[in-house]
Amino acid sequence: MLKIRSFKKGGIHPHGRKSLSETVQILGLPKPATVIIPMSQHLGAPAIVCVSKGDVVTAGQKIGSGESFISADIHSSVCGTVKDIKSIVLANGIETNAVIIETDDLPENQIEFTDIDIELINNFTQQELLKIIKDSGIVGMGGAAFPAHVKFNIPKGKKAKYLVINGVECEPYLTADHRLMLEHTDEILKGVSLISKIINAEQVIIGIEANKMNAALKIEKLIAEKGLPFIVQPLKVRYPQGDEKQLLKATIGKEVPSGGLPIEIGAVVSNVGTAFAIFEAVTKKKPLIERVVTVTGDAVKNPGNFRTVVGTPIKILIEAAGGFKEEPVKMVAGGPMMGFAFFDLEAPVTKGTSGILALTKDNLDYTSETACISCGKCVMVCPMGLQPTRLYKFIENSKFSDAMALNLMDCKECGCCSFSCPAKIPLVHGFKYGKKMARKK
């Protein structure tokens, strides 16, 4: 195993709380009676609905078509009948069209995705593989949900020297990627091989934080058994290491230029969950209609990791985790650092939903906002080298161009500053607002 590395500047160590669910095996859930499949589950333009009310659909059938350059196809996750097409609000606050499908439980409607011949896979060309990924509606599973076929389509004149696989899962509470790496090691490595083939990578590095050493060792062992040319890079536990910029700094030691993409330093970053999804798409012709979601938090009775279909209402996941043992004061979709607080338990799981957290009062033990005392903590923890306190004061006074001059746009809203602020100033909130206002000008 290599020496443990990390990125250099900033970062925080929030309480991990992963022990709640990290030892709980992934449990497959039965298909819910109704699924709600939103058309906007990815970064970029929403997909266009291509079924109508009353249509009978099968699992894996395309029901939304991603027609813009940056968009992704959407597939039905169950066999059933389209009951309605209506506008809904997702847990992250985005309003989007959704196809409501009533599941038909008849056995003849159950589609088994069967493995295809391994020989056939080796014969696929890069373009064919990219087409499969595009047709399977695969997006980055780490959180941002960037369409994978766009990311893996290396622009002309650029070279993807490094493929860095993200097994960091630096958000507290979340354990979905950890379980996936432990339980589906082989599938993930096959997925990684496929990505590596598509982008023609010279070097493949799998970055895993040191709180998941069992997964790192298991992957390393399998790599050795199979003689794969991959490297496992253990990383010091530190948030936000799962951000691609920090991950690249930690693994290959290079900084992505401000405003640029990883390909500019010859790198492509992909999540372990994405690798798994690509494996399933290529070998089973199964589009992205399922994912592993960690359901956890101190308000949940039996925290765990669940494999469920996209479109499952969140309340079904809560039921699967034994319901609430205590009334939550905050519900979060995603990790606690960058996730979204929501209130509607009917909202569906999307391709990017990595976790559902039910937090109690004890988890939110902090006071209301007080005056900034210029302690500089936010400056110290900012992994991007920004000065959050100064940015915030400019935005408070509507001096958006001054904030832009201090590199507001380099902020990626990781939340280290807001987390650490002793005055509890909502810095990230201010930066989201400031960016919006600055873009308007």
């Binding site: 319901g323 606690p336 650092m337 607080a341 302690c375 500089g376 100064r390 807001s418 987390f419």
Partner: protein, 371 residues
């Protein structure tokens, strides 16, 4: 369909990420600093007597009452954030033990009302309130601010000597001195200044068992057997409190190290010049442990509101304070220089913060290279 409880009756909190925050608060920071100061305060009361406890209580009470009144005026609730208590305690720490009580009251009211609240309260002030309060009364009531008292361990010494601070004694004595190069402790000893029996025995122990020469005078200064302001005399206990603050990450190493380092270096190189002792003859330990330098470096210069926000800025700030303290102490007419040096550098903090910026991730450096 199931018996699991999935109902939510209360209103859920909806806010922008991050959804969890650290438990550190401004109030916790202030109270921790107060606790870190307590050992040195208890020592001050122990060596200077009951009167110094009264001084500390008066400064705290005056600060808190002023804060309360201004809370009423500005309709704010900042009484329990600990900042007024801390300011009061620090003012008390910076008062001589026998000071007439009206002086600490004026210093406290000035610090809270003029220095802090006229700029908008905690976070708005651009000068350390406690220090500004001290400097204000220092120049207004000079004799009252020189009411020193003999520390209990040195009570056998003649009052005329022991009631002056060692720094003051040395500085005034050296004006007429023409005897050539002499160390501070020898000079003070020649004038009749004695050291505590404790310091003698510690020094003897080190010399016999380890062969290390430690001057008894410096041991007295380090432990806190010397006259001075109530809270500044025990470098040992102040360093103990500073260790707590460093461990709790309330202060960082930047300012104390830059301050003490630059001051010690300048003192060593140029500290002998005013007395015509030549270069590299300044006495580092005597100067580090006297005149409130440790209190200033760890508790006053590190005041978050009035120090830079970046580590690099803090280093420049610390060097600036070190340089000014050196200048005022060796070339000024007053013996100490810590308070003035810090509040002078407070003025430069906005300037430092404007021009000293951290390197932005992914931005090209001066050579145009992104690392």
């Amino acid at each position: 369909m199931s018996e699991e409880n999935i109902t939510i009756n209360n209103q859920l909190i909806i806010e922008t990420s991050p959804q969890i925050k650290s438990t550190q608060t401004t109030a916790k920071i202030m109270w921790t600093v107060v606790i870190a100061l307590l050992p040195a305060g208890v020592w001050g009361v122990f060596v200077f007597g009951f009167k110094s406890l009264i001084v500390l209580l008066v400064t705290i009470a005056a600060s808190v009452v002023t804060e309360y009144m201004l809370n009423l005026v500005f309709k704010r609730k900042t009484l329990f954030d600990g900042s007024a208590v801390l300011t009061g305690l620090l003012i008390g720490f910076n008062m001589p033990p026998s000071v007439p009580l009206f002086i600490p009251v004026i210093a406290s009211v000035f610090a809270i009302a003029i220095v802090k609240w006229s700029f908008g309260g905690l976070g708005g002030n651009w000068m350390n309130p406690a220090l500004a309060g001290r400097v204000f009364v220092f120049f207004s009531w000079t004799s009252g601010m020189n009411s020193w008292k003999t520390p209990s361990a040195l009570s056998t010494m003649p009052d005329a000597l022991s009631t002056a601070t060692p720094l003051g004694l040395f500085k005034t004595g050296m004006i007429d001195y023409t005897g050539g190069t002499v160390s501070t402790s020898d000079f003070l000893q020649n004038t009749g200044y004695t050291v505590s029996a404790f310091a003698e025995s510690v020094s003897g122990f080190f010399q016999q068992s380890l062969g290390v020469v430690l001057k008894p005078l410096n041991i007295d200064l380090f432990v806190g057997n010397s006259s001075g302001c109530i809270g500044e005399v025990s470098a040992l206990l102040l360093l103990l409190g500073a260790a707590i603050l460093l461990y709790k990450k309330i202060i960082t190493w930047h300012i104390p190290v830059a301050y003490l380092g630059s001051f010690a270096l300048l003192t060593w190189i140029f500290g002998g010049i005013p007395y015509e002792f030549g270069y590299f003859s300044g006495e580092i330990w005597f100067n580090l442990f006297s005149g409130g330098l440790i209190l200033g470096a760890f508790y006053m210069a590190t005041d978050m509101v009035t120090s830079p926000i970046t580590g690099k800025g803090m280093i420049y700030f610390g060097i600036g304070v070190g340089f000014l303290t050196f200048l005022l102490r060796f070339f000024g007419s007053l013996p100490e220089g810590v308070s003035l040096a810090i509040i002078l550098m407070n003025i430069f903090v906005p300037l430092i913060d404007r021009y000293i910026k951290p390197k932005v991730f992914g931005k090209a450096n001066k050579k145009g290279v992104v690392k």
